[in-house]
Symmetry: C4
Subunit: 197 residues, 4 copies
Amino acid sequence: MTFFSDAVFAIAMTLLVIEVRVPEIHVHSDAVLGQALLDLLPKYIGFVVSFMVVGRFWVGHHAVMGLLKGLDRRLVWINLLFLMAIAFMPFPTAVFSDYNGLRVAVGFYAGWLIVLGVMNRWLIVSALGNPAMLRDDADPADVKLMRRSSLIPLIIGTLAFALGMIQPIFALAMLVVGSPIVSWLVRRDRRGASPSA
Amino acid sequence: MTFFSDAVFAIAMTLLVIEVRVPEIHVHSDAVLGQALLDLLPKYIGFVVSFMVVGRFWVGHHAVMGLLKGLDRRLVWINLLFLMAIAFMPFPTAVFSDYNGLRVAVGFYAGWLIVLGVMNRWLIVSALGNPAMLRDDADPADVKLMRRSSLIPLIIGTLAFALGMIQPIFALAMLVVGSPIVSWLVRRDRRGASPSA
Amino acid sequence: MTFFSDAVFAIAMTLLVIEVRVPEIHVHSDAVLGQALLDLLPKYIGFVVSFMVVGRFWVGHHAVMGLLKGLDRRLVWINLLFLMAIAFMPFPTAVFSDYNGLRVAVGFYAGWLIVLGVMNRWLIVSALGNPAMLRDDADPADVKLMRRSSLIPLIIGTLAFALGMIQPIFALAMLVVGSPIVSWLVRRDRRGASPSA
Amino acid sequence: MTFFSDAVFAIAMTLLVIEVRVPEIHVHSDAVLGQALLDLLPKYIGFVVSFMVVGRFWVGHHAVMGLLKGLDRRLVWINLLFLMAIAFMPFPTAVFSDYNGLRVAVGFYAGWLIVLGVMNRWLIVSALGNPAMLRDDADPADVKLMRRSSLIPLIIGTLAFALGMIQPIFALAMLVVGSPIVSWLVRRDRRGASPSA
């Protein structure tokens, strides 16, 4: 299961680059190509932000799986739903990159982050809430911190959505600078631990 | 072999998103983009249904592989044929999404599910029918249930095909609500077991 | 290394489906869509033949890796060259599917199979010819058979190329029916063994 | 982590072929198709060079991971940044293939190799500089050589960039012939060892 999940994460993250397409230029000059490459800035930002967002979910997923003995039938299906939401990410990313000035595009993207956050939390709470699934050597403090940390992406997604409705660019700012701040707030009573690595 | 199979499943499932393409809109307004995103509904449905269908086959495949010591030459080739049918899924999914009102599209999609069902059953019956391949600790009740369960996708595919010929939308309804019902009917004499997890 | 190689094989095989694109039809009728799906026959054939060709190389690769303790620096690079040739397969397959009536297309495809055959043989002969790399429990008869079997794809590729120059369709016939015949000829003095599974 | 990283490398390398597209020819003749396939030479070169460049980074990454017990939180994130740069490679490769006569395209490609080289070195120096992460049986001579070798891609990328600014084709020459020369210079005091295999 871990192997299969890792492959879905890796593919979804690598496929994000497909949306960054080579610009067609009609005059073959350095100036024109240079400008065309600069104009793709929203595509680069979409790639980087989504790669990091999915990467962050992967780090959390990997850490949770490391605390479990296995997955029962129910967890397998919750995991598949979560992976489906991950596999879908290239689409909201492309919408966001292409129409980043429109509230609908930003809302669609941030809305999908909320969906991911909900499924991530559902998976983590279901997995860690079942003592029969936990490894015997799982540290209760790690388990508690991981459950609490699963709120982070949900909070960030919701804030990005709300801010994006006020002004699209605020959503992006939230995603870039909000993550470390919210993480710090949620984790501040257990500094120094590295539960997700 | 398990690793290779898992990778093919993961890639085929993640590639399904490639068919969901960003709409081109000619007026940059929230209303137009919102409508364009809504118009992609058949694409979303195709993605979700196919992801879950392939995911279900993966769950079964994973469970069967867990009961085997290894694969002999013949099983390796049957497995490759099955994986080929899985790898092909993005194409019938795209045909189904693009032309969901046409019987030929629905029949093509449901027909491919029948092909998958046949190959899945062929693989499972061949693998579990060979005592030399079974792990010594494989529970005979699990083996029996798994052989029987391998009929489920075949039944669902056939019903979806037949219903789709009457009315295309019925095929979709069958795929969404039929799976739990048929699963329940086939498994009802062994509730509580979780053989595929 | 095995894991990485398996992933490259799995991705190259699954990407073959990307070349099979949904037909655009201008009249939405079952007859028109049905005809359009039939017209894609060369695409389906290209997908199936290439999937099986690459699958066959994978089976052999997997078997060889199972006889080795590890790969030294030189083998790592030969393996990377072989994987590069495998990763390139979607391109000759697409050329072959699109222009199957032209000798250049058939020659390009069959020529690439010869390249694959040469690299495959190079890898196998290098790997199995180095006693320091062989596992201690590797059966010398298996090793000998595997070295000899590595000629099969080379022979088939060369025959397909030669026949394709006479008449394009002959190349396809060779690939479909030639493989079992040549395999039988090469292996006939060791029936019943299953070295590649 | 190794598994996930390997998958990202494998996918990024295999996706490079997507940029090599079947030429559309308007006269179906062997001569026209032959010429069209020859005209794709820059695409083939881009595929081969990038496959080998990424393959080389993979070989190094694989070797470094083999010396570590695990990755702490900080290394996980440096690794993710490195993998992001790897996953992005299909884009600079496509720009380079399409506009190989323009300094901006060559500079963009070689510039990205410098980015990869910097991240690769950052990851290797961070990982090997932390004694708590090193495996107990890691040979100090291997560690030292690996740290030093991590300068190679950085040097090659910088030389390719500089030469490409003088004349675009020089960058390519550097990438093809420079790698073995620079490798030899950096390693010459430890011939015969095979630290990256």
